[in-house]
Amino acid sequence: MSTHRVSKSFGHVEVLTHIDLEIHTGEVLAILGENGAGKSTLVKLLAGYEEVSAGELRLATADGSTVPVASWNIEVAEQHGIVLIHQEFNLAEQLSAAENIFLGNELKRGLFLDQERMLRLARKYLLALNCQVDPATPVSELAVADKQMVEIAKAYARNSKLLILDEPTAVLTSKESEVLFRLIERLKQQAVAIIYISHKLEEIERIADRITILRDGEMVGCYPASSLSTDDMARLMVGRELSNLFPNIPAPLDEIALRVVNASVPGLVQAASFELRRGEVLGFAGLVGSGRTALMEAIVGLRKLTASAQIEVAGKAVSYPNLAAARDDGVAYLTKDRKASGLLLNLNLVFNFSLLSLSALFLQRKYAGLLIDQKKEQRAFEQAIKTFDIRLKDSAITAGDLSGGNQQKLLLAKIMAVAPRIIIIDEPTRGIDIGTKSQIYHFIAELAANGHSIILISSDMMEIIGLSHRVAVMCRGELTGILVDDEIEEHEIMRYATGLKRQPGKNNSEDQLCA
C-alpha cells in the first residue's frame, strides 16, 4: 500500500499535508511525531475511518504495480486486510473473547452459529499470542493487556495483511510488551506489513525497519531504522535540540507536608506508610495494578480507607470524606486517565478548566458567587492558557478535539486553579510526545521549587528516576521500600517492584513474588 500526496483537513484546518508513504509486506514501518503531529489521523485515513481530502491512496496489485483506490471506507479496508488497532479498544465488552474475535465474521453450521469451532479456533489464536485467556470469558472481565491480545487475535483471524498498531504498549507492562514484540517478529515472517505508532523511542529502535517522522502534519522524512539513534529521532520529531529533559530540582525542606500511616484499602492496599516533605517530589514506582492509584485515591477521599489509617496534612490529622474536602484542604489529585476521568471531552475548554475550582468555597470571589462570573472565568482561563502553554487551533473547540499533550496541560491547569499545596500526579505523560513531556517536567520542577509537595506516580522509569528526590515502590498493594540517593536506579526499583527485595519494617508478610 502507498499514499501519494495525501492531505486531510477538518473544516478549514489542514492537519495533514502531502504525505507520501510506502508500506511493504513483511516490514515494520514506525510513524513518529509529537502529539498533534497527525499520526492518528494518518492511520485513520489508511484504515478507512476518515476520508482523504486530497491526494490518493494506492494499493499494490499482484504484478507489483499500484492502483489508486476508488472508494475507501472501513469495510473496504478490512476486505483488503487492513486493520487498525486503536488506543481505545473496539471490543464489545459484554461478549466473550471468542465472540469478539469472530464478530461480524461468525462461523456457521447451517443456520446456526458454530460455537464450538469458534471457541476452539479462538483458543488457538490466543495461544499463538502467548495469551492464556479462556476464549469464553466476557471481554469486560479481561485485563487491559489481554483485551489488546483479543484485538490482535481478531485481526489475525481475519488474515490481515496490514496491521496498524496505535500505541499498543501504552497499556502494557514491559513483560507483556515483550510478548507483543515477539508476535510482531512472527507476523513479519508471515509477510504481514505493520505500521507501528509509539512514543517510546527505545521500542521503535528495536522493532522498526523504517521510520517515518511527522511534524505539524508534514513529513519530515523517512529513514531506515538503522540510521537513526533515539536522540536523532527525538531531535527530528521536535525540530529542536532537547537539552536537559529533566530539570534540576532544589532539595526539599524539612517540614513534613503529608504523613500517611497504615493506610489500607480493602483488597488493594495493605498498611502503607510514608512521609512527604515540602518541596519534595516523591516518586511512586511499581507494576501496573500494584495499588499506587488506589492508595492515592483513598488519601484524597475518592475511595474508603480502613479505620486504622492515619493521615496528617501539615501536622493536622485529617480524613477526607470526599474529594471536595481534600481540595478545600489544598490536596489535589491529577487522574491518570484524562479521557475517562479527567476531562469532559464534549464540553468546551473553559468549562473543563473551571470545573474543579468553581465550587471551591475559598475561591468564591475568584469567579463564582451566587452566579458564575463568566467574564472572570474566561480571564482566568486565558491566563491559564498562557501559563501552561495550551495550544488552541480554534477557540471554540471542545476538550476532545485537543491533542493528548494539550489535554494533559488543560488537566494540569484545572488542578492548579485550586492552588493546591500537595499535588498527586498520576501518570502525567502517558501517550504524550517528548516536547510536551519536557514542558510538564519543568512545571513539576517549578512547583516543587516553589514549595509545593508532589507525589509522582509513573510507569515510566526514566521519569521517576529523573524527577524524584525519593522513590517509594509498591508491589501487590504493599509499600516494599522507599529508595534514596544511589538506590534510585532502574534495576533496584524493579527488585522492589517485583517483591524480590523489601526494606525491613515495610510489612513483611511471607508471600511470594509479585510478577
Binding site: 477538518f10 473544516g11 478549514h12 475518592l302 470526599n322 474529594l323 471536595a324 481534600a326 481540595r327 489529585y333 487522574t335 475517562a340 476521568s341 479527567g342 476531562l343 469532559l344 471531552l345 464534549n346 464540553l347 468549562f351 473551571s354 470545573l355 474543579l356 468553581l358 465550587s359 471551591a360 463564582a368 451566587l370 452566579l371 458564575i372 463568566q374 484545572k414
Partner: protein, 328 residues
Amino acid sequence: MPEKFGFKLDLKTTGPFLALITLIIIGMLVNDAFLSTGNLSNILARSSFIGIVAIGATFVITAGGIDLSVGAMAAFISGCMIIIMNSLIGTIESSVAIILLAIIASAGIGALAGLINGILTTKAKIEAFIVTLGTMGVYRSLITYMADGGTLSLDFSIGDIYSEVYYGDLLGLPYPAWVFLGVAIIGYVLLNKTVFGRHCLAIGSNEKVALYSAIHVDRVKTMTYMLQGMCVAIATIIYVPRLGSASGQTGILWELEAIAAVIIGGTVLRGGYGRIWGTVVGALILTLIGNILNLTDAISNYLNGAVQGIIVIAAVYLQRGAWRRNKQ
C-alpha cells in the same frame, strides 16, 4: 467553508424557534380563529403544564437521568391537594388560607417525591428508568385508590375562588403563562449561570469526570429530581383549578410529553447538554400541534399523537445532523 459552518451552528440553536414560527404561520393560514386572543391565551395556559414539568425534566435529563413518574406524580399531588382542601373546610375559615396551605403542601409532596426518586437512583444505585417506572406505578395506583376508582372533586366553595388561578389573567396574559415564564427564567439562570447548573452539565456529560472534579454527584443528581418534583407540584397547583378534580386518568402521558418537549428543544437525551428556552419552545410546539389539528379538518384530531411523534423524531434527526456537522 467557514460561512456554511456558521450557518449550521446557528440552525442547531435556532431550529426549534424556526419550527415554532413555521407552526404559527401554518396556524394562521389554516384558520382565522387561530390568532384570536381566546385561542392564543388558551394555547399559552395549556402549554404551561407540560412546559413547567418539562423545565424540571430539562435538569434531570441534562444531568444524565430520566423521570418517568411525573405524570402519575402530578395526579397524586392533585389528589392530595383536593383531599387536603376538602378536609380543611370547616376547620379554617378563609378559603384563601386553605388554598395557600394546599399549595405549600403540594410543593412539599413534590420535593419529597423527587427526593425519593433521587435517593433510590443515587444511594441504592438503581437505574433512573427503573426507579421512576416503579414510582410511576405507585403514584398512579395511589391516586386511583384515593379516588376509589372514580374522581376526587374539589368542594365548590373553594373551587370557585381557586379557579381564578387558571382562568384569571394579568396584562392580558393568563396566570399560568406568567408562572410558566417565571419558572423558565429561574430555570434558565439556574442551568446557565450557577455552579449547580454547571455541575448538572458535567454529570450528564461524564459522571466519572464529575466525581474526579470534586462534584457531589449524588447530591446534585438528587437535587435535579427534587427540582423536577417541585416543578410537577407547581404545574399541579395551576392545573387543579382548571377542572377542580383528579382521577386515575389525570396527567396520563405527561411524562412522555415533557420528555418530548425537552428533546424537541434541543436538550440531548443522554445528558451533558441542556437548553431551557428550547424546552419552552418545545412545549409550545406540542400544544400548537394539537391546537392546529383542532382548527382544521385536513387531519383528524385523533392523529394528534402521530403528528407529535413524527415531530419529535424529526427534531432529533435534524439535531443529530447538526451535531455531526459541528464535530467536523
